[in-house]
């Protein structure tokens, strides 16, 4: 299944914030997590994740830190802030409202939409 580009873009912010709410992470790992969560159905151009992360940083939703893990290269880690959690909660409400409306008007497709609502 191919998810529409606009929908992918709209869901990107809550997805990334939700992933960071699980714990701090870095670009590649975030992308892997998105793939795992969506079963590969949300296709991002990998690079586009970074401008998004930078926007979240500018808005104060995430903080960043360059660290060198024991094995390997220097890497930029992102962690969610309280403001980011608040934004995530807000986004969640919006998505729940959207999915609820869709669920009511599309009987029988509740399973998929409920999954969307969790994101």
């Amino acid at each position: 299944m191919h998810v529409d580009k606009d929908l992918v873009a709209a869901s990107a912010t809550p997805l990334v914030l939700a992933i960071l709410a699980e714990g701090e992470s870095y670009g590649y790992a975030i992308l892997k997590r998105v793939q795992a969560l969506s079963g590969g159905e949300l296709q991002w151009t990998d690079g586009m994740l970074y401008p998004l992360l930078h926007r979240l940083q500018r808005l104060g939703y995430v903080t960043t830190e360059w660290r060198t893990p024991p094995e390997g290269r220097r890497r930029k880690y992102y962690a969610i802030t309280d403001e980011g959690r608040a934004a995530l909660a807000d986004q969640q409400q919006q998505w729940v409202a959207v999915t609820r409306a869709l669920k009511d008007v599309w009987p029988g497709s509740g399973g998929m939409l409920a999954a969307l609502g969790d994101a």
């Binding site: 870095y26 151009t45 690079g47 586009m48 970074y50 940083q57």
Partner: protein
Amino acid sequence: MENLEAQIAEWRAYAARAPGVNGRDVDELEDHLRHQIAELSNAGLTTDESFLIAVKRLGDVDGLSREFAREHSGRLWKQLLSSDDEPARTSSGWVEAFAFAVGAAVAIQVARLAAGFPDEEPTWLARNATLFVLPFLAAYFAHRRALDIRQWVVTALPFVLAALVVNLYPWSTGSDTEALVILSLPVALWFAAAYPYMGGTVRAHERRMDFVRFTGEWFIYYVLIAFGGGVLMGLTAAILEPAGVDVERVAEWVLPSGAAGAVIVAAWLVESKQRVVENMAPVLTMLFTPLFAVMLVCAAVVYAVTGLGGAFDRELLSVIDALLVVVLALVLYGMSARDPFTSTPGWMDGIQLVAVVSALVLDLMVLGAMIARIGELGFTPNRTAALGLNLVLLMNLAVAAWLSARFLTGRSGFHRLERWQTTYLPVFALWAVTVVVVLPPLFAFA
């Protein structure tokens, strides 16, 4: 493996050249690339294949660069990006700028001739002076940003309204309200020019910050042009006076046209030569913010010790008001020139807080003196205008100090501070408009 390193280095060099992407971003993208290559290699692909697929998945550099540039409009400003959205201009648009500059220069002369200058210098000319210049600036931006008809109308509207107010109100010559209008109208109309500058959008906070940056850099260019013009005039006078030419008569005509035309030329310079000022302006703010901070602290301490007393006469009040406006302008400009991605506070942020807090103290003292004066002598147009300006400044400085303290102690992000200033910009415009439109009838054009 060596081959892979060479390929990655090549990709790095290519990506680093893209506008809007800086070295740190490339580091981050490279890390991503390496992860992807490692994973693909583990899955059994050759390094060459892995590299190709990883690069492809990362997205083409042009698209990526556009995304980065959209997010980092400050960097884009630095890089003179000619993106696909904006077709490359032939001869960097100087013909266009020149036409509007000449328009302003001619308009001001026509007005002076109509006023019967130099024998007479009616005050309507002074009241209207901005209206002969800033519409050309607004039109220049409207043209440059290719606004549609509706946006042109919106751009023209404030100027038409201003022309009506300035000419239809029954001004009494030489009155205080008239003097206030002569001072406030340029400010109000400068904000009106922000609309076409921002391409017909007023809500976008990033664009507002761009306008602040533009204002600061425009000012620097204007001062440079004025200085150059002054040198030219001085030398012309020195060389022609012995030949019996009445240079003063000539200067009387050249100066206003030059001053009017320079408004548009400076705007064009900011637009097209951003990189030059980009290097200079942050240095100037870095130099002057600390100096002004020291001066403000001294002033605040001196007046706190000597007390308000008689020292706060009318002239000093206006000097301090001017000082406060300059400080705010410095802080605002410093903010717009700051890289918003250095999220940890630096020493400049500390100095800005010092400047803001001492300005706040001074402002409070001025307000105290002013209220005492008004309580004693009642409201006049001048006192009301000054009181309003001080209240507008107080509000801005107080919240700015609070947010900046929070930022320095790491309790909130810098964007809050930035957001506050861009949100507050319309308040300045509103107050300038109030002084022009509401105060005069309120005081019966006294």
